[in-house]
Symmetry: D2
Subunit: 364 residues, 4 copies
């Protein structure tokens, strides 16, 4: 590293996750106290870097934010500087405005930038690095589906929220002898469903990586009834899919039946159980509750470690890298290893094997 | 009271609610310890009374159940003895099987019966009383919409669950500058939405008692944006309705647009906000999470007081009555006063007035 | 009311309680939005009024504080303007500095002042009112021992914290067959112990209003053992007292035994149980955890209602009054009715009777 | 493995920890469903093995226990079969009764035994194994101070309880400008204090591994005051020690001052801060709350994995081993590696380094 670091930038991108504020706090504290740096926070993801929405952040700005969900910097899923929407002659077009990013970096005399984000934001971070920017990354996704790190912060909190929901559904399932279906996040990877299913005592777990057969699900429900357990709990990742393609149900529209997809996969599963068994079934879709709330102790610690490590990464000049949890250690990996390919649940994953040994069904 | 009470029956009916087990425990402890009675628990609501599913309940059976959601007796929304479904010549018919109830009461030598339930179960209790059974009632509904009592147990817990959900949605709303919509229970009465809206800092509360104008909702969202509050939180009772009748949206079905109701009212409101503003909007439907979980301290105390009072009511021979909270006192009212008409939110209710003074919009 | 109200002052006094911020928020929102007033917040209780530590508070200052414990205005148990400590010739003396309060009220052109506090702060508020200040009060104490209101905000949250602690102690008590003692707040009144004892399923409740006999406590523990319940849960208010005066234990100090009071009453009770039975006993002192944390939904609503009502009280010119909960209604009472005498638990209180019917022992 | 396994035994020993029930459930489910074994549960730790308190455990016995704290088998810190207390001629003596263990194992035809416990219980397990018993171990301690495993179950829950306590103390510390001291478990190792201190935003962390200088603690408190942060949060492990030996304070006893140790180290630190600064200080001792309550999702998953793995270990004939977490994998290590030496916090531990970079003081 030839040039001394004096000022660093910071932004949060993509969907919000519990622990973002803990990273921000750790970055600011470490940068200011430990290294005497100035920290510039860019607001609303890459949007703030494009539109020059920025402010200096001192220790007072991060006081009290450790236990709070969300991000005080704001975030967005939009505003990719390499693919930015503009109106041209009444038509929407996408253009490269990444030069503006470099201008604003220059205006604020930022020597290096920390990007906290998931696959999308870290991909942009990599592109910016390839174009010459000093960037380091911090991996974030509640889905835990990012490659090159054992765990992302936000996942433990989302898992906790889903597990608490299963606890609540248990009592109502038992009391009413019902089949309760909980749909959780996980469009491409089933980590939340898998882990919450084990932690919450589910009987069936349906994940995108293991296409299911509804008849096998029903078989499990009926087996339990036969052994006098008159209720069942099913966790479904939003991206779970039946083996025989997507499910539609017939629905009366204007006097004739039409094939319609009724809501998410949770609704579909519940509907089929009611149709094919004598059980009542109810579905709960957790949705954005999984992104909210105070981060768990685990996530606060992981996020704090990531924040400290990201500043150290800059001081070491390891640009183009992302902090990463490997076992119990924080290391770093090239951004290129982290993005582009989601980390799916392997069929021989230890949680899958644990679930099978407990008798949990994956609907196959 | 001419005949000495020696054995009492107990059942829980209708949808489950946090606190049912607390009532059961208080009934058994008071009956056994205080009065030396025998308690017979009938299982699965009135179904157990019809099909003679019953067991004696001692103190050991209720040990440890105070903090648990649900009901150890089981419950159901079905099995009305005066309107019981039977198959006759391949057709479903409804018949009066209430004689079986009296037979089973007689078999177990039950001198008086405690029915814990909502409007439906207490209506049946009243009919049974009119037909000669010694019945007392305990009011239960998470919706708090039962007449003749200031509060039902289960409501405070449901309110707490909804408020915690609002806390979680707040952080994501702020971070993303979104409009977050939370749909809560309340088909005919908006108590949960109203109370949770105040406790959770909502900007808009939509309840069945106040039909709303979506343009007024949007006006509120835009006002906030104009004063630099870029997010809004909306609580919608599931039974909330627009002033101009039910809302349908146009949806492409087989090549042409058809009017379709997309899910619940929460989805409708979120969809309209996205259509009519530049804001992103997301909806969460809490559903059965509101019925589950460990009861709050408030609900445990109220449920315990109700259980103790119900046994006292029997010892006083006040059959045909239900225990009731009036201010801070437990009294009793005739079952007839309690059922038949739901307690809706009056427009001059103190919480409505409080909300208005805080600037919360009801969409009117 | 002859003079138009344009500016109001606000302070929080005494020990902090969950819900203080909810009152502050409601006062500011109602005052600013509803009536177009200016709100001046005085910091750190009456200290800020004496030392002129004040700032204008707008809606942005109270954004997001509803779910947060503590008070953004700061508070203290000290700084009574009628009894203010000053150093005179090396000696500490107490003097009347209330004129400074009037000066600062005048400097900020405050037309009326809202004091949120317990017995101590409201007594000062009354004195200031008698000396000519336009004051209204909002009752606050987690102990719920204030006269002239059915409930103070903060109590439900403290009760919830104590109940959750009892839930946690239950599992360890059962697993180890121990007697677990929980000491909760309540120096002069046993409301928290009483309510938490019922909500948390305690076997013994010891409160200041009912001096206890340790032999009766032990009798209860042994009775449970005899009926095969090998653990017991005891809740003790910090102000609970044995019938035969305070308890000391003999302790070896410098070679001879001396009478020493070992910690609080919880420790004393646990020690005596270990000495007089064959049971292990452990004590937990909740302490300041009971003052902290996010207020419950109940407390947020009550605090919000109080805040709105306090502003209305000012607009109605009802100075020298305090808002008060009567049943489910908010009314107002003269400050003189509220202070001076703590509201203790009457022996015929409904919770006491409920506890007795459940078989809970008060150690008598 | 020469002999087929048909019946296995199971016991829980030492202090209870959240997750014990999750292990029990996983053992029973895996043993019964997966391998068709019979499971015998011995009650109250090694006591049940000595006194033949045992019962067969089927799937119904473990239904619903996953989210519950404690252990349905009971546990105790006493009853070491190699050092068992008996009365001989009015004197207490310790004798070896391990033969009784072998008798009872034989009576129940148990082929192998699973011992879930901490250092003490696993040491006994190793002795029994050396004497010829087929034993496997599962590591349990909320203190996380067991060698040969990265994490024990129960720790994450204890950490969560301590972190939530710090969150609650924060609001009261801020409101009152106080120094709040939280004493947590950790007699010999400071893992809970260290992790909770980071997760809860503490300013000072005092652990047994780093003897502290109270003047350095006070220096930190004063530094914060000087930079306008008028409160501080201190976490103290119960085994933390000052550099200059144990702390006593002078106390008036019978007219003269005597050196007395006032309660735990938390009290000592709080007292010294009040004596040596102008700050008010309050101490909270979490005590057994840290052992109680529903296990976190993390602990439920870890405990479940351990339970499944312990049965697999038996089926593989790996007696004398204990299941162990290494990074994200469950492996096994000889019991001898696990016991005898506690795992203390190394001074170059990553959490220690993280804390230092954040500016947290260890009082040195």
């Amino acid at each position: 590293m030839t040039k001394a670091i004096r000022r660093i930038g910071l932004l949060t991108g993509g969907g919000d996750a519990p622990g973002l504020n803990a990273v921000i706090r750790a970055v600011v504290k470490t940068a200011v106290r430990q290294y005497g740096l100035t920290v510039i926070g860019f607001q609303n993801g890459f949007g703030g870097l494009i539109k020059n929405q920025a402010r200096e952040m001192g220790e007072n700005d991060v006081a009290g934010i450790l236990p709070r969900g969300g991000t005080i910097l704001g975030t967005t899923n939009r505003d990719n500087p390499f693919h930015y929407p503009v109106l041209k002659g009444g038509e929407m077009a996408f253009v490269d405005v990444s030069d503006r990013v470099f201008e604003n970096i220059s205006i604020h005399e930022v020597d290096a930038l920390i990007v906290i984000g998931g696959d999308g934001s870290l991909s942009i971070a990599r592109e910016l690095h390839e174009k010459g920017l000093n960037v380091v990354g911090v991996p974030k996704t509640i889905d835990n589906d990012l490659s090159a790190t054992d765990q992302t912060f936000g996942f433990d909190t989302a898992l906790t929220t889903a597990t608490e929901a299963l606890d609540k559904l248990h009592t109502t399932a038992e009391s009413h002898h019902r089949v309760m279906v909980l749909e959780v996040m996980g469009r491409y990877a089933g980590w939340i469903a898998l882990a919450a299913g084990i932690a919450g005592g589910a009987d069936v777990i349906l994940i995108p990586e293991i296409p299911f057969d509804i008849n096998k699900v029903i078989e499990k429900v009926n087996q339990r009834s036969a052994s006098n357990k008159k209720f069942s709990i099913i966790v479904v990742a939003e991206g779970a899919k039946p083996q025989d393609g997507d499910v539609v149900v017939q629905r009366m529209v204007e006097g004739s039946f039409e094939p319609v997809r009724l809501g998410g996969i949770g609704n579909v599963v519940a509907k089929q159980i009611e149709d094919l068994t004598d059980k009542e079934s109810r579905v709960t879709v957790l949705g954005h509750l999984q992104r909210g709330g105070s981060p768990t102790a685990f996530d606060r610690i992981l996020a704090t470690r990531y924040g400290v490590a990201a500043v150290n990464l800059i001081m070491d000049g390891k640009y183009g890298h992302m902090v990463s949890l490997q076992g119990i250690d924080i290391t770093s990996v090239p951004l290129g290893n982290a993005v582009g390919e989601l980390r799916k649940v392997p069929l021989d994953n230890h949680l899958v094997l644990t679930a099978r040994q407990l008798g949990i069904s994956f609907g196959v």
